[in-house]
Symmetry: C2
Subunit: 341 residues, 2 copies
């Protein structure tokens, strides 16, 4: 068994599986689009020179690969699907960075700051089409089903993103709306990733369904942990400033929990969030964090994460799947949600 | 036979065919996304209230419908494909308006000015996924082939758009590069539209190929006409200011023709385009148009349009298709390229 903070071997195995598929896919793009996409992947620098990768963790391809193995298929069976879910994830990152005006990702300038807003939007557009094409060109009877499953998940991510955008500057977001948004924006693609390998391999319906439920809960757990880290995470670990989400006045889970309370602490927190002059310095941020704590938001966020982790583990336990894949998924779950938490 | 300036009946027939498919498709979106999409279609206003449509001409659905009829299939056989090509067209318009900062389309404020840049990007993203889904959910063996054909055409449009963006502020675009861009940005989707109905209906390969060639040439003809209108079109007909493309310093076909000449007029035109103080008033614009004329750009643009129209007509003449559909496509060709030209 791997220690909770060591990267599971399955991540490296998935990276090896999908890297050639990603390389072949980006080679079909026009030179301009290929540059944008491979820059975003950390394969080349702004001048187009090869660079040692600053790529993502490959969480989604790993889920896709393990879900094929879970129904007794070889990892190769999921290679197109695994690459396609990663490409959809990258499409959403490219567009989100434009929409949110984020200038840095994975410690590098974001694509739009290097290539401009228009080309970065085009880069995302090219990726969403590429992901669909990989599945349509994939061999096997299940290709249309897999293409449809990924299409629906991507559409949910977009719906979640537009909902999230609508939360900006509002401090009356209900817990229900927040969970709907997180389920769409984070849960849907993880649910798809965790089941698409089984789907593409023609695995039994019950396995596909339970793996889907596992991924959805894992996504909500991941988001709750991320939101916890966005307030209480240590900057040297998260790479973000102290109380980052409070600074940005983001309707993250702890803030939604707190603002749905009706006590004095909640009222004081709302006043801070609505005051444009507040939350700019360490004293004001510390006050905000203290108010969140007073509302019980820290514990409730931890509880929500624990609830979703338990749901993910239950779905995994009941899924009719191979023992080895279950163990690797279980290890991956720990890695994803037990980040310094 | 319809007069050149009267709208062919096939356009109205296609509108009737696809409107229910579009309505059912947008009803599957989240309320926020549906509002953006139906606003863009001219079905609702900024407040979400029903509005009498300011929708597009339905050129692409008409081509798709006629291409199914061309191989002896009923129009209904192409309804999903016809709606899907229109949706892809709308996706490109939504994103192009963001990238180009255009504030008006079809005499209404563009979606991003009403809903914001982020939601407008999401609206486009939702449409590209919706178009693919319509074809994946469509009945019949050919659905994957049709989905793939549309996917490839959309990818070409993106490649063309990113190339077009790279032309901005450059006055050294070769004719070859310009035609590559126009072929991708305008030709690819018309080629797909003109053949996807035949493809979805399982029509003979030769018909699909010739209809594809017809659409590609029609697209280049359409673009040449549009570029002619962008300089010499009458404002009361085009809805754009006099010499609009010159004003915007756009590398359109006449300007590319002129700048690839090496005479005095070409040098003087380049000096005007490179002078930020020029092309802002009627005198300066009239001077620019006179220089274009002196370079022979007006006649060469007309010649290029005529060449592509002839290529489209030849492809249509040799295609092994039904006579009625050929007549309607021929009528549509006239309507598209003989706009006050």
């Amino acid at each position: 068994m791997t220690a909770a903070n060591a990267a599971p071997k399955s991540l490296a195995r998935a990276r090896e599986l999908v890297t050639p598929v990603l390389a072949a896919a980006s080679a079909t793009l026009s030179p301009e689009l290929r540059h944008i996409v491979e820059y975003h992947w950390g394969w080349v620098d702004a001048a187009g020179q090869p660079q040692r990768g600053a790529a993502g963790k490959m969480l989604r391809p790993t889920l896709a690969m393990l879900s094929a193995e879970a129904v007794g298929a070889p990892a190769e069976r999921a290679s197109a699907a695994a690459a396609a879910v990663e490409i959809i994830h990258d499409f959403t990152l490219l567009h989100d960075d434009v929409m949110d005006g984020d200038r840095e990702r994975r410690h590098r300038p974001t694509a739009w700051t290097v290539f401009g807003v228009g080309p970065a939007i085009c880069g995302g557009d090219a990726l969403v089409l590429l992901a669909q094409r990989l599945l349509l060109e994939d061999a096997g009877d299940a290709r249309a089903a897999a293409a449809l499953a990924l299409n629906e998940a991507a559409a949910e991510v977009i719906a979640g993103q537009v909902l999230d955008l609508s939360f900006e500057g509002r401090f009356d977001v209900s817990l229900e709306r927040y969970l709907e948004m997180a389920g769409q924006k984070t849960g849907a693609l993880l649910a798809c990733a965790a089941s698409i390998g089984a789907l593409a391999a023609g695995g039994p319906e019950a396995a596909v369904r339970d793996l889907h439920a596992y991924g959805a809960a894992l996504g909500l757990a991941f988001q709750a942990v991320d939101d916890w880290l966005g307030i209480w995470g240590r900057p040297e670990r998260t790479g973000k400033p102290v109380a980052s989400d409070l600074r940005q006045r983001k309707s993250s889970l702890p803030i939604v929990f707190a603002l749905n309370e009706s006590d004095d602490a909640a009222r004081a927190l709302r006043a801070l969030l609505e005051d444009p002059a507040a939350l700019g310095d360490e004293t004001s941020l510390a006050e905000g964090v203290a108010l969140l704590d007073a509302c019980g938001a820290e514990q409730r966020t931890r509880d929500e994460a624990a609830r979703q982790i338990a749901a993910a583990r239950r779905a995994l336990a009941r899924a009719p799947i191979a023992a080895a894949a279950r163990d690797e998924l279980s290890e991956l779950t720990r890695f994803v949600v037990e980040r310094e938490f």
